[in-house]
Symmetry: C2
Subunit: 374 residues, 2 copies
């Protein structure tokens, strides 16, 4: 198995373009030089483009969780009640994070079911919450939560809205103007850069509310203020910034709207293929994610066997389920620069593997469905 | 000016070997796969070799400050009094960091003067400190603090010793067995990997004292426990781990003792050259760092002019001073894979630039001195 040459369909990290890989291989340069200031300035402007904002943004040398850490530790204080909407592994972790920096109350929904904005509104009426957290796109269940409606409910009660957009920003439309106060992305997802960087966009009122008493390395205010001056508060992960710049340039060349449209088309194609080969999607209909498809295993197909054969015989890498979904679903990422051709290559292997493991379906129908979307 | 092709003599990041650059350019791989577990396992063992310990270590996806953040937030609580030894820019920042997670009292020494262990002992007798922080190698002043003596004083009073070894680990001998409880390194310094990772080694008693209530992304216990199982608590900066592994392999091939010896020789050579061209070292004699030389400008030589000519005409990159040392000193890094040949190339430019700016000295004497160390 050549791990460097696979059909790479994880829900992140995702396939990187050779341009991005080449950009990363730069020799060491001075991160306090005019040359690197130029890089930071361009990264800042491209990050604003990505977030569809003219407001303030930060880019942190740390993965998506570092961005969430920065948002929560910068906006909330230990005594602040926060309502954490939980319907999957990553929103669960978001809740865990809030336990460190604030006083969270979870509002749980079944995994695979969306957060219900009406229930959020009801919970906000009962408690005096300073903020609400939600995972826009639950990577663990392949589900997109109705963040616009949730943000409207939070804004109505004056609560700050902190959104994990790690697998949505750049792939699914999401805007600060919906009433979001902090929105977090991760470099290795829809932007198709390497893992290790995260970015945060904040509203005006969130920026005004930032404090610096709960965290140092992930101090959001310091990162925002630094970047405004083409600088970083601490040594940045220089090679990752070069890679992110290149990946964001590619995103801008394609256009954010076109990228989101193409991502949607990849999701539609995937769902059509899934249907054709007699599999089912995991999340409730209408809430399936456009960046990550979570697919139920048919009866009798073992997760470990499936992914091993798929990888060893068809050099195709997909992800299994997490938590109690382990063994029940597999997940495919179709964000960033993933193409229909990648999905065709992957589904050819998926079909062959399912057939080998005894699943009965119309062989070739999945690939054909995908191809019709090319 | 070609920023990718210079004589690169910063006090970090430092020159990277092509092997390290190539290792970084890997395509995306699954960070929850057996292939990456193998990488993490090797990084863990090589990191223990680097720290000369069989105890526990963590590698964080974040620069040196993330490592310090993890050590302080994991070991101390808000009400814990900590004595912060301050004699430069980085120990000042270390003190700032402690303000977020504990109750620090600074014990200050003049920049360029070492921390006096007797004064530390006296301060520890007066206050009931839970911990002491020190910057082993003050990059800002090119000075190495007597950490062994300081750690002995702390241990005598039962205080935990937290050491910033960012520009010493791998270049200057420093050992947990001296009574150090947490020791932090940065990837872009003596190890000559790219910036963006940090590592922390802890004593047994420090590991037992770790709590998880002050930080999430930099949760030291989670990082240590994860790495013991070839895992990371959050998505790791995959390309940087590949690069760090290669850089640590190179360090082990050379041997830690040989690396430290060679670094010492580079420092001796630099100091000999500095002396020959009628410049002076900044720190007190006997405490000059072996990884970073801080050199006083002679009267009449302007920092900005000097570094601009050096860079533009001799494509040599050195660092200026920080804080109140701005304009007064320049700094050269000679750690990692820097060679006498690099220093010769750099000093040829330094000599030419100084002569152009009116400094009078024996032209060629610096380069000759360096060459005699080859």
């Amino acid at each position: 198995m050549d791990v460097e040459d696979t059909v790479f369909l994880l829900p992140g990290p995702v396939k990187m373009h050779p341009r991005v890989l080449r950009a990363m291989g730069m020799p060491a340069i001075n991160h306090r030089s005019a040359a690197f200031q130029e890089v930071l300035g361009e990264v800042r402007e491209l990050t604003k483009y990505l977030f569809q904002t003219s407001g303030r943004v930060a880019v942190l040398s740390g993965s998506g969780t570092a961005g969430l850490d920065a948002a929560v530790s910068g906006l909330l204080r230990r005594e602040d009640p926060v309502l954490c909407l939980v319907n999957g592994k990553f929103s669960e972790r978001f809740h865990d994070l809030c336990k460190v920096y604030a006083k969270p109350t979870p509002l749980e929904f079944e995994w695979g079911q969306p957060v219900d904005p009406a229930k959020v509104a009801a919970a906000l009426e009962k408690g005096d919450y300073k903020a609400v957290t939600v995972c826009h796109n639950e990577t663990s269940t392949g589900l997109t939560n109705p963040v616009k409606e949730i943000a409207a409910a939070a804004r109505k009660r004056g609560a700050m809205m902190i959104v994990d957009g790690i697998t949505s920003v750049g792939g699914i439309d999401v805007r600060l103007e919906w009433g979001i106060d902090a929105l977090v992305m991760g470099s290795q997802k829809c932007v198709a850069a390497p893992p290790g960087l995260s970015a945060v966009a904040v509203s005006e009122r969130a920026y005004a509310a930032l404090h610096e008493s709960s965290s140092f390395y992930t101090d959001l205010k310091a990162h925002i203020d630094g970047l405004e001056e083409d600088d970083t508060p601490f040594t940045p992960a220089v090679p990752l910034f070069f890679a992110l710049r290149e990946a964001l340039r590619m995103l801008k060349e394609e256009g954010l709207e076109a990228r989101i449209k193409r991502t949607t088309r990849l999701a539609d194609a995937t769902r059509a293929a899934v249907d054709e080969i007699d599999l089912g999607m995991f999340p409730r209909k209408g809430f399936e994610s456009n960046t990550v498809s979570a697919i139920r295993y048919p009866a009798g197909v073992d997760d470990k066997k499936f992914r091993t054969i798929l990888e060893e015989e068809h050099r195709t890498v997909v992800q299994g389920g997490q938590g109690h979904l382990k063994g029940k679903i597999f997940r495919i990422g179709h964000m960033g620069i993933v193409s229909i051709a990648d999905l065709v290559a992957g589904f050819a292997g998926i079909e062959a593997t399912l057939a080998k493991l005894g699943h009965r379906f119309d062989r070739g129908a999945g690939v054909a469905a995908l191809t019709s979307f090319a």
